[in-house]
C-alpha cells in the first residue's frame, strides 16, 4: 500500500508542477520590471513548485527512484493539456502522438 501511495503522490506532484508552470505563464504574460516582486502569479507558481518538490521527496521514502522519477515525464502531458484548456494553445497530431508515447513509456517503466 505504501508503494501505491508513493506513486499517487508522485503523480500529484507532477500535476502540481504543471499547474506551477501554468501560473508561471500567467505571470510571465503580465511581467514587467516594475511588478517583478509583486507579481503574485509567479509566486503561486513558485509555491506550487516547492510543494511538489516536498511531496516528491516524501514519496521517495516509499518507492524506488528508478520507478518514480520517470513518472515525472507525465508533467509534460499535463502542461500540454492545461495549455490547451487555459491558454487556448493548439494541439496538433504530433503533440497528441508525443503524449501517447509518454504514456507508453511510463507504462513500460511501471511494468516490471
Amino acid at each position: 500500500m505504501k508503494k501505491t501511495i508513493a506513486i499517487i503522490i508522485v503523480l500529484l506532484s507532477t500535476f502540481l508542477t504543471s499547474i506551477g508552470q501554468l501560473f508561471f505563464k500567467f505571470g510571465a504574460n503580465k511581467l514587467s520590471l516594475e511588478n517583478l516582486f509583486s507579481n503574485y502569479l509567479l509566486f503561486i507558481g513558485l509555491i506550487l513548485y516547492a510543494i511538489a518538490l516536498v511531496i516528491f521527496i516524501i514519496a521517495l521514502k516509499n518507492n524506488e527512484l528508478s520507478l518514480l522519477y520517470p513518472l515525472f515525464a507525465t508533467s509534460y502531458i499535463w502542461v500540454s493539456l492545461l495549455s490547451m484548456f487555459f491558454l487556448n494553445e493548439t494541439m496538433n497530431l504530433l503533440k497528441w502522438l508525443g503524449i501517447f508515447l509518454i504514456i507508453v513509456g511510463v507504462s513500460f517503466v511501471a511494468k516490471k
Partner: protein, 155 residues
C-alpha cells in the same frame, strides 16, 4: 470546468494509472467527471425541471459569460460532491478500501482542475467550499440563493 475537458483529462489520468491499478482505473475515469452530477441536482432543485440538456446549456452559458467577463454572476452555489466534507468522508473511507481510494483520486483531480479554472477566471465565490458553511450562511434565508440565480437567466 466543461465536462468534455474533465473527460479528456480523466482518460489521460486513467491511462497513466493503468499500469499500476489495472482495471480499477475505470473507477478513476468515471469519478473524474461523474461528480458533476451535482450541478444537475442543483438545477433540478432550483428549476423543478429534469431536462439534462437545458441544465447543460445553462451551465455552458453561465460559464461562458463568467469567463468572458471574468466576473462572478452567481455566488455561493452548493455543489455537494465538490464540498470539502464529501472529500473528507471519501478520504476516511479510502483508508479501508482501494475502491474508495480510486474514487478519491478521480474526485481530487476533478476538484484541482476546477480550482485552477476558478483561480484563472477569478470565480472562486461562485461555489461554496463547504456544506456546513453553506448551511450556516443560508440558514433562515430560504430562497435568497434562488433569487440570486433568478437574476441570471441565460435561457
Amino acid at each position: 470546468m466543461d465536462i468534455i475537458k474533465h473527460i479528456t483529462m480523466g482518460i489521460i489520468l486513467s491511462l497513466i494509472f493503468y499500469p499500476f491499478f489495472n482495471y480499477l482505473v475505470i473507477i478513476i475515469f468515471f469519478s473524474s467527471f461523474i461528480f458533476d452530477v451535482d450541478h444537475y441536482i442543483e438545477y433540478i432543485i432550483r428549476k423543478k425541471d429534469f431536462s439534462l440538456l437545458k441544465a447543460y446549456k445553462e451551465a455552458q452559458e453561465l460559464n461562458k459569460k463568467q469567463k468572458t467577463l471574468k466576473q462572478v454572476f452567481i455566488i455561493d452555489v452548493l455543489h455537494i460532491f465538490h464540498a470539502i466534507e464529501f472529500i473528507i468522508i471519501l478520504g476516511i473511507l479510502s483508508f479501508f478500501s482501494k475502491l474508495f481510494l480510486m474514487v478519491l483520486i478521480g474526485l481530487l483531480f476533478h476538484n484541482l482542475l476546477d480550482i485552477i479554472e476558478m483561480a484563472y477566471y477569478k470565480t472562486f465565490k461562485s461555489r461554496s467550499p463547504s456544506i456546513i458553511l453553506w448551511l450556516i450562511k443560508h440558514n433562515g434565508e430560504k430562497n435568497k440563493w434562488q433569487q440570486r440565480w433568478a437574476r441570471f437567466n441565460p435561457l
